[in-house]
Symmetry: C2
Subunit: 375 residues, 2 copies
């Protein structure tokens, strides 16, 4: 297929202080170029794919221009979604009205997406991740020397063990895996509104590569040496967002909500430092993935919204989910359950009173006004 220039590469809104871009680590491909694949095409996947494709186009000496994006094929008005995206350069289903670069190619088969890819972006709904990993971990599929990054939020608990998705991918595919998280509402990112993100990396080469893939004047990347912290902050903030929504639903004011955010941030940081060796308090205090994402999520976002409804109506979360989310799943309640199960198994619930209360209010009938008592 022929690749036209991206339809939406405009002059950047401002010029950054121009230090020459550092030399990228070498590609394992014969072409000498890196090749980006994006697994996932929801609103967040499409927004990230858009940025990656724009950067690949601009730095075509170092990247293959074509960026493939895995789309689970479905029919949209009688047409295949992949064909719609590739013809109109719009993801009509998940990110309508945002023109996608022409060098971003929707692809229905996972194997075609990751073929020759040296840089693989995981951004599927988390329930698909195991299937995806199984499929691409078959011999001969992945390019030796490939690297991964995940933008999937959540954790997995097995008894007294807890894993981030970055550690799962790294363990099962045996490739270095980074994590991307930040104050990044997908639609705002896609529209090019200024924001920041954080990438937790296992090493310097990963930092250089993923910064080249994602950094742009409107999407400022900071890299930190803390994959677990970045992964965890993106998951745990959703528990705090439930608490924030409950505060809103009870009609409490800004002081109370700010107190909940502060306590929530402390529990997030404490949890990470206690259970993930090598993680860093600064990721939570200083980075977009920590404090900034927490703020965005607790003042916007669906976890906050559903918890507000929960506090107002007393309806169970699964009912509210169906009523308000149009088929999407609530991340916060899922993470709350996983984290509670883990803390029970480790006999450490008492160390995390806010997490524990959110769980008990959401699932065990504790009255919602108990939330702020005795914190």
């Amino acid at each position: 297929m022929s690749i036209d220039p991206p339809s939406n590469l405009t002059t950047p809104a401002f010029t950054r202080p121009s230090s020459p871009a550092p030399q990228l680590p070498p590609s394992p491909l014969k072409s000498g170029k890196h090749k980006i694949a994006v697994i996932g095409s929801g609103s967040w996947g499409s927004a990230l794919a858009k940025i990656a494709a724009e950067n690949a186009w601009k730095r075509h000496d170092e990247f293959h221009s074509e960026v493939r994006m895995w789309v689970r094929e479905k029919q949209v008005n009688g047409k295949k979604l992949t064909e719609v995206i590739n013809r109109t350069h719009l993801n009509s289903r998940y990110l309508p009205d945002i023109p996608l670069p022409r060098n971003l190619v929707a692809t229905p088969h996972l194997k075609d997406v990751v073929k020759d890819a040296t840089l693989i972006v995981f951004v599927t709904p988390h329930q698909f991740l195991h299937t995806v990993i199984r499929e691409i971990s078959a011999p001969g599929i992945l390019t030796p020397g490939a690297r991964a990054i995940t933008a999937i939020k959540g954790v997995e608990v097995n008894g007294t063990d807890i894993s981030t998705f970055a550690s799962l991918i790294e363990a099962q595919l045996s490739i270095p895996t980074s994590a991307l998280s930040g104050a990044n509402i997908a639609l705002e990112v896609a529209k090019g509104q200024f924001c920041e993100t954080t990438i937790g990396v296992p090493g310097r080469a990963d930092a250089l590569l993923w910064e080249a893939v994602f950094d742009s004047p409107d999407f400022r990347v900071a890299t930190v040496d803390d994959v677990a912290g970045v992964s965890l902050s993106g998951a745990l903030k959703n528990i705090v967002a439930l608490a924030a929504g409950m505060v809103d639903g009870m009609g409490m004011g800004g002081n109370t909500k700010a107190a909940i955010l502060r306590i929530g941030l402390q529990e997030m940081r404490g949890f990470c430092l206690e259970f993930f060796a090598g993680s860093k308090a600064e990721t939570f205090s200083n980075e977009s993935a920590g404090i900034a994402d927490l703020i965005t999520t607790c003042y916007g976002g669906r976890n906050r919204k559903c918890a507000e409804e929960f506090a107002k109506t007393g309806q169970p979360f699964d009912v509210i989910e169906k009523k308000l989310l149009n088929g999407q799943k609530l991340q916060g309640t899922l993470t709350s359950e996983e984290v509670n199960r883990f803390l029970l198994a480790r006999r450490r619930t008492k160390g995390y009173p806010l997490f524990e209360k959110v769980y008990k209010i959401a699932f065990e009938g504790m009255p919602v006004n108990e939330l702020v008592k005795g914190l």
Copy 2:
């Protein structure tokens, strides 16, 4: 005058884990009790005075029950404000509808307020502070062994010197001075909505005393060994709130706003660590005075609101102030000017790009959409 029990002491919303209250440092008064005076009676002053008077009443073995509050006398509907407050136990002018404890006594003369006081709370508008200090620093007015705390926000710049109000009070009155700041919208505090605050103290005795004066189930005090950090955070947050309001006024989304808060918090912390020896990064990252107050101020509050109007209309801040604030002064623009003057004198504006941009946009005609460029 006879003192009836406070009219509004109700059962606390919850019982805290009851460790016995620690023994307070001895009072210099012959009675052996401490005596609280509150200088200021605006909404924030009245809210703090209410809490202090309730605590003094509850701990009458350690505190004189009567708490005096300085009220600049004015006529309200033909009656003296002090008399209205003392008869109705309502501050009809600045905190209407909130019943004040009966042991809180409005007093028009400063000397009567601080007579025998061992614990003096400064919470006047900052422009009155120098007059107040001058008046009570005359010989024989202050009780030897008295301590002070300030809840006044702002800084004072003289050439290359910068002072907090806590350091001014301490220097001019030669008494140990603490600082109180936190995510504390006055009306919400007065209503007893759960919130937290931070008190920066110069020593252990101050921590015990001020915690006894202010801590309550709905107004949770944390003390930190960082008077400057607590003072500065309360002042500098208002500059960031101007930036947040500008983002709102430009119609930018939650990502951008969260990025501004994150960058703002970093500049606040950096400023304090650079110019105030002994201050602590944790005050900003962990405490209500830091991150939590910043959030509250950037999502509510008048600095945000006026800056939003500024970005929308292009009117100068003094016009907006008159239009929206009903005679009150905007703290953020004042602090922005002071901080900019100080940074210029120190040739350090480049270290604080967000502070510098807010100043240039507010006062030097820089277009507001420059705010997020190149941060």
